[in-house]
C-alpha cells in the first residue's frame, strides 16, 4: 500500500508539472461532417507541439491543448487552413478548399443542409 501511495503522489506531481507549459484554447473551424473532423484533428495533431485536438461537429468548436514553447495558435491555424478548412480570421485558399471531398464542401449551402439531419 505504501508503494501505491508513493506512486500516486509521484503521478500527481507529473500532472501538476506538465500544466505549466500547456495552453488550452477553443477556436472556431468550419466544416460539416465526421470526415472533416478527422481531417481537422489530424492537421492539428501533426503540428509539432499540439497535444490534443478535438473538433465538435455540431458546435464547430475546436478544443486545443498545445505546448506554448513549441507552437502557437497561428501555426496551428495555418495547418488547418492548408487542409481546406476556414478558421477564425483565416480563410482556406480555393485550391485547398477544392481538394476536399465533395461531402465536405462546407461553403456550399446544399452540402450544409444535407448534414443537418
Amino acid at each position: 500500500m505504501k508503494k501505491l501511495i508513493v506512486i500516486l503522489v509521484m503521478l500527481m506531481g507529473t500532472v501538476a508539472f506538465s500544466q505549466s507549459k500547456n495552453a488550452k484554447i477553443s477556436i472556431d473551424v468550419d466544416g460539416v461532417c465526421e470526415m472533416c473532423k478527422k481531417r481537422i484533428e489530424t492537421a492539428c495533431i501533426k503540428t509539432k507541439g499540439v497535444k490534443l485536438a478535438v473538433w465538435n461537429v455540431e458546435t464547430h468548436k475546436l478544443s486545443l491543448v498545445y505546448n506554448e514553447f513549441k507552437t502557437d495558435v497561428k501555426s496551428i491555424k495555418k495547418n488547418i487552413v492548408a487542409v481546406g478548412h476556414d478558421t477564425e480570421g483565416m480563410k482556406a485558399s480555393d485550391e485547398a478548399y477544392n481538394s476536399l471531398h465533395d461531402c465536405c464542401k462546407y461553403r456550399d449551402e446544399k452540402v450544409r443542409n444535407n448534414h443537418k439531419n
Partner: protein
C-alpha cells in the same frame, strides 16, 4: 440540428481601460441577415456579474482576468458560452433553440457492435441487446451473442456455463466495472449471481485482451458495466414468471441527492419452489432455490473538477436444492436414503472506483480501484461435501496520459491482489483441506498508437510477482489496419497465466460416483503447476451495402495453445483425475458472422463456428468432451416503427442454435447398461420473445425457450441407483427441461 454559426471576431482593442468588455449579440432574420438581439442575458461563469443587451443588442460587462467563460442566454435561443482570453470586442450570433419545423431523426444504433477503429477485438452489447431474452441473469444474456456459447454444466443445478473460443469460463477474465469479480470461489455460479437488469452494457474482448486488468485472461475478457444511479430510471420494476416455476422480482430505486451525489438501491429476489420431473428419472429437472441479492451504489460526479467515483455495497444469499424428488434435506442430508444436494452461498462485496480526469488536459486521468469480497459456499452433493470460503482483495492504480501528442497514449500503473481460500472436500468420507493464500503485486505499461488514419496498435506488458506463480512477464499485442473503406483487419497475440481452482471450477464432478484424484504432487497449487497459455488471433471485418441496406461480414480465427494446463481427465468412468498437461492442448476456433439490416427495423445475425479443441490425455490425444465441433447461430429481430406520441411499439426476436455432435468422455469400461455412444446426437433449439412496449414507462414481454421441445432423454447416468458405482450427472449435452414459457413486465419512471 441547425448549424450553430458562431462568429467570433477578435478586434485589436486598444483602450487604456481593460476593466470591461463590449460587444453585440445578434440573431439572424429570415433573410439570414444579422440583427441585434435585445434582452439577451450575459453572465460570467461562477459569478453573479452579468449584463443585459440593449435595444440594438449591444452590451458592456465588467471584466477581470480570472473571468474566462461568458455565458450568453435568451429565452427561445440556445445558450452559448464564449471563452475569453483577454479584453476584446465580442460579437456573437445566437441560434433559435428550437425551430418548429425541425425534425429529429434518430439513427438506430446496432445493439451488438464491433469497432472498426479499435485495435482490440471488442464486441459491445448494449442494454437493448440484453432485453432480447428474459435475461434473468448475466449468464443468460449471452444467448443472443454468437461469440459466446452458453452450455449446460450439469444435470442438477441447471447452471449454464459460458464458453469463448471453445474454452470454459475460467479462461475468461470476467469483471464487473473492470474489476475482476467472477473468479476464484465464484467461478462456477458467479454469472448467475448478477441479475440481468443490473447490467447496463457488456464488453466482450476476444483474444488476450488488455494487460491493465491482470494476467489471468487467456481466451478473452468480459466486462459488465452496471446501471448508474445518475442515468438509470428513478424507479424500475421488473417482474418475471415462467412455467418452470421460476419467479423473479427486480426493483431499482435511484435518487439524486445533490448536484454531485446520486445513489441507487437495486434489489433482486428469485424463487422456485415447484418440483418438476418430466423425464421420470426420480430427479428434479430444475433445482429449487431462493435468492436475495442487494446492491447499493453511490455515484459522485464533479465534472468541473474532473472527479467521478462509484462506491458499491453488495449482499447475496442464495440457496439451492437439487437431487431426488423425495429428498428432504432435514432428514436425508448426507444419508443414502435419497440422493440430494444443497448449495448455500453468501457473498459480501465492497468496491470503490475513483477517477480523476484533468479538466484542463483531458487526456490525463488517474483511476484508483479497490475491491473486497467474501464468498462463502457450503454445499454437499450426495455424500460428498464441498465447502469454500474465499476472501479477496483487489486494488489497482492506473495513470493514463499521452506522449507528445494524442496519437501516442499510454496507461501505466500497479495492482495488488490478495486471495485467501479456505477449502475443504469430503469425498467418500475422506476429508481433505486445501486452504491456501495467494498474493501478487504487479506493474503494467500499455502503449497505444493511433495514426488517425488506417493503423493503430496497442502493446502492453506487465510484470507480476506472485507467491505461488513466481515472477513472470505477461506481454500482449493488438493491431488494427484498415486496408480499404469500411474494413478492419485485426491481429492479436498474448500470454496468460493462472492458478486453477480445480474444485470450484469443476463442481459437477462431486455429483458423480467417481473417485477424485490429483496426480503428480510437486506443484504449489493443489500439488499442480500454474496454467500458461498463448492466444493468437486474426479477425477481418468488412462493412458493405447489400441492396442498399447495411450489412457486415466478420471472419475470425483464434488459436489458444497451452504450455501447461490442469487437465481434468474423465476418460475412466469411475475416476476424475487432475494432472499437469503432458503434450499438446489447444483450441482452434473459426467464426464467420454476417449481420444484415434487411429492411427498416429488421436485423438478421447469422454465424457459423468451427471448433477444434484437443487435449493430450493419458489415454491419448482426444477432443475435449462436450464441445461441439460445429455450431450454427441465427438471430432475427424486428421492431415496428415508433409511434411518435407515446413510443409504443412491438419487438420480436427469434434465436436459432444448432449444435453439432459432442463427444462423451469414454464410458467403454462401464457395464453395457451404462455405456453411452461415442458422440451425442446433434441438436437444435429455438427461442423466441415478443415485447409490447405500451409507452416509455411500461412494457410486457412474453417468450418461449426451446419451443421445439428438444430434450436429452437420460441426462443422469445411473439415476436409478445414485449411490452405485456408475452414477454420473456430468454427461449433459442438451436441454433437460424441454420447452419453457415465460411472461414478464417492466415498469419505469424516469
Amino acid at each position: 440540428m441547425k448549424r450553430i454559426n458562431l462568429v467570433f471576431i477578435l478586434f485589436p482593442f486598444i483602450l487604456f481601460s481593460q476593466q470591461k468588455i463590449e460587444g453585440t449579440i445578434y440573431e439572424t432574420n429570415k433573410k439570414n441577415n444579422k440583427i441585434g438581439l435585445p434582452g439577451a442575458n450575459l453572465r460570467w461563469l461562477n459569478t453573479s456579474i452579468g449584463a443585459v443587451t440593449d435595444f440594438d443588442g449591444k452590451f458592456t460587462i465588467p471584466y477581470k482576468k480570472e473571468y474566462k467563460k461568458l455565458i450568453i442566454s435568451h429565452v427561445g435561443f440556445t445558450t452559448d458560452t464564449l471563452l475569453i482570453e483577454q479584453a476584446q470586442k465580442v460579437s456573437l450570433v445566437l441560434n433559435p433553440a428550437n425551430r418548429l419545423d425541425e425534425v429529429v431523426i434518430k439513427n438506430r444504433k446496432k445493439t451488438i457492435a464491433v469497432s472498426y477503429l479499435k485495435s482490440l477485438n471488442i464486441i459491445n452489447m448494449s442494454s437493448d441487446e440484453l432485453l432480447k431474452t428474459a435475461c434473468c441473469n448475466l449468464c443468460e444474456s449471452f444467448e443472443t451473442n454468437p461469440s459466446i456459447d452458453v452450455n449446460f454444466a450439469d444435470a442438477l443445478t441447471g447452471t449454464r456455463q459460458i464458453k469463448m473460443l471453445g474454452l470454459t469460463s475460467p479462461y475468461i477474465l470476467m469483471g464487473i466495472e473492470s474489476i475482476p469479480a467472477i473468479r476464484g470461489a465464484a467461478q462456477a455460479y458467479g454469472l448467475s449471481f448478477i441479475p440481468g437488469t443490473w447490467v447496463e452494457s457488456i464488453q466482450i474482448t476476444k483474444g488476450a485482451g488488455s494487460v491493465v486488468n491482470g494476467f489471468e485472461s487467456i481466451a478473452g475478457q468480459i466486462n459488465a458495466k452496471l446501471q448508474k444511479p445518475l442515468s438509470d430510471s428513478k424507479l424500475f420494476i421488473n417482474a418475471y414468471g415462467s412455467l418452470d416455476g421460476r419467479l423473479e422480482l427486480n426493483t431499482h430505486i435511484n435518487n439524486r441527492l445533490s448536484d454531485k451525489w446520486s445513489t441507487g438501491l437495486y434489489l433482486h429476489g428469485n424463487r422456485r419452489d415447484t418440483k418438476f420431473d418430466k423425464n421420470n428419472d426420480t430427479f428434479l429437472d430444475a433445482p429449487l432455490g431462493e435468492q436475495i441479492n442487494l446492491m447499493n451504489r453511490w455515484q459522485y460526479v464533479d465534472l468541473k473538477k474532473g472527479f467521478v467515483s462509484f462506491l458499491n455495497f453488495r449482499f447475496l444469499n442464495d440457496e439451492k436444492q437439487m437431487g431426488q424428488l423425495n429428498f428432504n434435506p432435514s432428514k436425508d442430508k448426507l444419508t443414502t436414503n435419497f440422493w440430494g444436494s444443497e448449495i448455500d452461498t453468501r457473498r459480501i462485496e465492497f468496491s470503490g472506483k475513483f477517477s480523476y480526469a484533468n479538466p484542463e488536459l483531458t487526456y490525463q486521468t488517474i483511476d484508483f480501484q479497490i475491491a473486497y469480497s467474501n464468498h462463502d459456499q457450503d454445499s454437499y452433493f450426495g455424500q460428498n461435501v464441498y465447502d469454500i470460503s474465499h476472501d479477496s482483495f483487489y486494488s489497482t492504480a492506473i495513470y493514463s496520459s499521452i506522449i507528445g501528442d494524442s496519437r501516442h497514449n499510454f496507461k501505466t500503473g500497479i495492482n495488488y491482489t490478495y486471495d485467501s481460500y479456505n477449502e475443504k472436500t469430503v469425498i467418500k468420507l475422506n476429508e481433505l483441506d486445501y486452504s491456501r493464500n495467494e498474493n501478487s503485486i504487479g506493474t503494467f505499461f500499455e502503449y497505444n498508437y493511433d495514426d488517425l488514419a488506417d493503423f493503430n496498435l496497442t502493446a502492453g506488458f506487465r510484470i507480476d510477482s506472485h507467491n505461488l506463480l513466481g515472477t513472470f512477464v505477461t506481454p500482449r499485442l493488438h493491431m488494427r489496419y484498415t486496408p480499404w473503406e469500411k474494413a478492419a483487419l485485426k491481429a492479436s497475440v498474448g500470454r496468460g497465466k493462472r492458478s486453477a481452482n480445480i474444485f470450484a471450477e469443476n463442481q459437477n464432478i462431486f455429483s458423480t460416483s467417481r473417485s477424485i484424484n490429483i496426480l503428480n504432487n510437486q506443484g504449489k497449487i493443489y500439488g499442480l503447476d500454474p496454467e500458461i497459455a498463448w492466444n493468437f488471433g486474426i479477425s477481418f471485418l468488412q462493412g458493405f451495402n447489400l441492396f442498399e441496406r447495411k450489412a457486415d461480414l466478420t471472419l475470425d480465427f483464434y488459436r489458444t495453445e497451452f504450455k501447461n494446463q490442469i487437465v481434468l481427465d474423465l476418460e475412466n468412468p469411475l475416476e476424475a483425475n487432475f494432472y499437469n498437461l503432458e503434450g499438446d492442448s489447444y483450441a482452434n476456433n473459426v467464426q464467420v458472422e454476417f449481420n444484415y439490416n434487411a429492411f427498416k427495423g429488421f436485423n438478421l445475425r447469422m454465424a457459423y463456428k468451427y471448433f477444434d479443441v484437443k487435449t493430450q490425455y493419458k489415454s491419448g490425444k482426444l477432443e475435449k468432451p462436450l464441445v461441439p465441433k460445429q455450431r450454427m447461430f441465427v438471430n432475427a429481430s424486428y421492431e415496428t416503427g415508433e409511434n411518435n406520441k407515446n413510443n409504443a411499439l412491438w419487438k420480436f426476436d427469434l434465436t436459432y442454435n444448432r449444435l453439432g455432435k459432442q463427444r462423451f468422455s469414454s464410458t467403454l469400461s462401464n457395464p453395457i447398461a451404462y455405456q453411452l455412444a461415442e458422440y451425442s446426437p446433434s441438436l437444435a433449439t429455438l427461442n423466441t420473445q415478443a415485447t409490447k412496449v405500451f409507452s416509455s414507462t411500461f412494457e410486457i414481454y412474453i417468450g418461449g425457450e426451446n419451443i421445439m421441445d428438444v430434450k436429452q432423454k437420460n441426462p443422469i447416468l445411473g439415476s436409478e441407483n445414485p449411490f452405485g458405482a456408475n452414477f454420473d450427472t456430468t454427461m449433459v449435452y442438451g436441454p433437460i427441461f424441454g420447452s419453457n414459457y415465460y411472461l414478464g413486465l417492466r415498469y419505469r419512471i424516469n
